[in-house]
């Protein structure tokens, strides 16, 4: 069946119901908070960084299952990893972790944690550009000649 089994795969519900690395750090080296004002999703990430590695990371905030599960998965992945490696994490990596396809609205939920992570650790003012490419793909995937919109499938997942 379509829809929900895809959107709420077991791993997403598991991370949503039992989030990893949830909480705050007492003395974070870096702390960053971001939000999707359109949905009310909020994520804060606290980092302790030692010897070029993410020694500890915690997230807090509130929002939909996709935004919170993505934060949990991302934190679990990056704790203990060298910054160089974390720097390479892309939007496709997050989508792969989630294992689902997201429409344009929920894509912002799915990528909020990555945006918070990048801005927090690297001080990037905003997530560079990739989101827009997805929207262009989505537009191309709409079949204006028929009554049924084609599925906006995203390709090129690594």
């Amino acid at each position: 069946m379509s829809g929900m089994e895809d959107l709420y795969r077991e791993n997403i519900l598991d991370h949503y119901k039992h989030p990893r690395n949830r909480g705050t750090l007492e003395h974070p080296d870096v702390s960053y908070e971001d939000a999707n004002p359109l949905c009310g999703d909020k994520i804060r990430m606290d980092f302790n960084i030692r010897d070029g590695k993410i020694e500890a990371v915690r997230f807090s905030g509130s929002g939909c299952s996709i935004s919170q599960a993505a934060a949990s998965m991302l934190c679990e992945t990056i704790e203990g990893k060298p910054l160089d490696e974390v720097k390479k994490l892309s939007r496709d990596d997050v989508l792969e972790m989630l294992g689902i396809e997201l429409g344009p609205v929920r894509l912002k939920c799915g990528l909020l944690a990555l945006k918070t992570l990048k801005a927090g650790v690297y001080g990037l003012p905003q997530w560079p550009g990739e989101e827009d490419e997805g929207e262009v793909e989505q537009a191309r995937a709409t079949d204006f000649s028929g009554t049924q919109p084609a599925n906006g499938r995203r390709e090129g997942h690594r």
């Binding site: 829809g3 929900m4 959107l7 519900l13 949905c39 009310g40 939909c64 299952s65 939920c109």
Partner: protein, 425 residues
């Protein structure tokens, strides 16, 4: 029927008085006839309504039979197009009880209609130190244009507060007007989130007694209930076609003639002029002074057909249907554990029910419902300040129109029980 009669209807929502069968009405909407894996339960009519055959046919007929620009050509099909466009304006004027079609300016939507007032009236007539009074329950379309104007003109914005039950604290209005600085009050007629029906005629008395003007955002009222600008006694009123069974891309501003006459144009270009020289121009008569460039002709014609369709059902009957369904939905939603409804009781609201479901984010609720074929709105519904006031980041919203059925509400309630199971922690 005017506000007093509408208010009388407000006291007792009843399904017994229905003059039309929503199941039959539904068959005239192609979107509900299209085969689907699960029947469409469309509960997002406050965002946009579905479109019946006569509207789509009227637009297709224009393009197929007499597509031509209006107010210019002197050949047959251009004259037919002009007549159809102006006929649509007359129907809209009749629907809202305007004194003349000249008081109806076609715009792109309600947002543009309110921006027109802010630009053409606000820039000309407001001075530094004046004030504009709004409410805490406004849609962004009745907030942001005034914020832009306030910054530009150094005008103060004041707000009528919203009470805990989601109604306007109108006892504050005389105070907000007391210093005589407020020149305009702009208020939503029916809240797109809470469904609250605001007493516009009563507000108009207070506003006019203080020498100010009253603008009304009627985006959720003109499509659903009898509205008469004379009985409401408002000075401006904005509404939009796509929420009233018509196409997107067209809306209207009602304005009192003497006010519209005194206002400079909004946009400059073709059609809005009488005479153009290289460095100056004379403006066209009302309402064309405010309709620059080629307007959405097919959409105006579609809106005219939508007005016909709604009047055929009867606006009072449409409102009775919507409100009865909202009452039924509130009864059924009360059965769902952890569900909290926003806004006033059923006897004081239109066909809108917004709610939260425990800790489950409205996006997640909407996604589970989508899987059941149920379309609801999830988010802040373009009313972020209202959600802040209510202390919720977002909400889910079900809203109805003439084609909505009790069965759709039943499907909604089943979906909500399922959402609770999926997200039980």
């Amino acid at each position: 029927m005017g506000e007093s009669a509408a208010a009388a209807k407000l006291s007792r929502p009843s399904r017994a008085s229905l003059a039309f069968d929503p199941g039959e009405v539904r068959q005239q909407f192609p979107i509900f006839r299209a085969p689907r894996p699960k029947p469409l339960a469309y509960l997002d009519s406050a965002a946009t309504s579905q479109k019946p055959d006569p509207v789509l046919e009227a637009m297709a007929r224009y393009y197929a039979e007499y597509n031509a620009n209006i107010h210019r050509g002197i050949y047959d099909i251009a004259e037919r197009a002009t007549a159809a466009y102006e006929d649509a304006r007359r129907r809209v004027a009749h629907l809202v009880g305007a004194s003349s079609p000249r008081e109806i300016v076609f715009t792109r939507n309600s947002t543009e209609a309110l921006n027109l007032v802010a630009h053409a009236w606000g820039r000309r007539f407001l001075e530094v130190g004046d004030a504009i009074v709004l409410t805490e329950m406004e849609h962004h379309s009745n907030l942001v244009p005034w914020q832009l104007l306030a910054q530009e003109k150094q005008v103060e914005l004041r707000f009528i507060p919203v009470t805990g039950s989601g109604e306007l604290a109108l006892e504050t209005l005389p105070e907000l007007l007391a210093d005589g600085r407020a020149k305009l009050v702009s208020v939503v007629h029916i809240s797109n989130v809470l469904g609250t029906v605001n007493p516009i005629a009563e507000i108009a008395r207070t506003v006019h007694a203080a020498g100010a003007l009253l603008a009304v955002d009627a985006s959720q009222s003109v499509p659903h209930c009898p509205v008469d600008v004379k009985q409401l006694d408002c000075d401006f009123m904005a509404f939009t076609s796509h929420k009233m069974l018509g196409p997107t891309g067209i809306g209207a501003l009602y304005g009192r003639r003497r006010l519209l006459e005194a206002m400079p144009p909004f946009l400059g270009g073709g059609e809005m002029i009488r005479e153009v020289k290289l460095t100056e121009s004379k403006w066209n008569d009302l309402p064309w002074k405010f309709e620059a460039g080629t307007m959405p002709i097919a959409e105006a014609i579609g809106l005219g057909a939508a007005v016909d369709y709604l009047e055929g059902l009867g606006m009072a009957e449409v409102f009775a249907h919507d409100r009865a369904l909202a009452g039924y939905a509130m009864e059924r939603l009360a059965e769902v554990p952890d569900l909290v409804m926003l806004g006033p009781p059923a006897d004081r609201r239109g066909g809108v029910v917004a709610f939260t479901l425990g800790e489950i984010h409205p996006h997640d609720v909407a996604t589970v419902l989508d899987d059941e074929g149920v379309c609801i709105r999830a988010g802040h519904h373009c009313a972020m300040p209202l959600h802040a006031k209510l202390g919720v980041p977002a909400s889910a919203r079900a809203s109805f129109h003439c084609y909505s059925l009790e069965e759709e509400v039943d499907t909604l309630v089943r979906g909500l029980h399922r959402a609770r199971k999926v997200f039980a922690r």
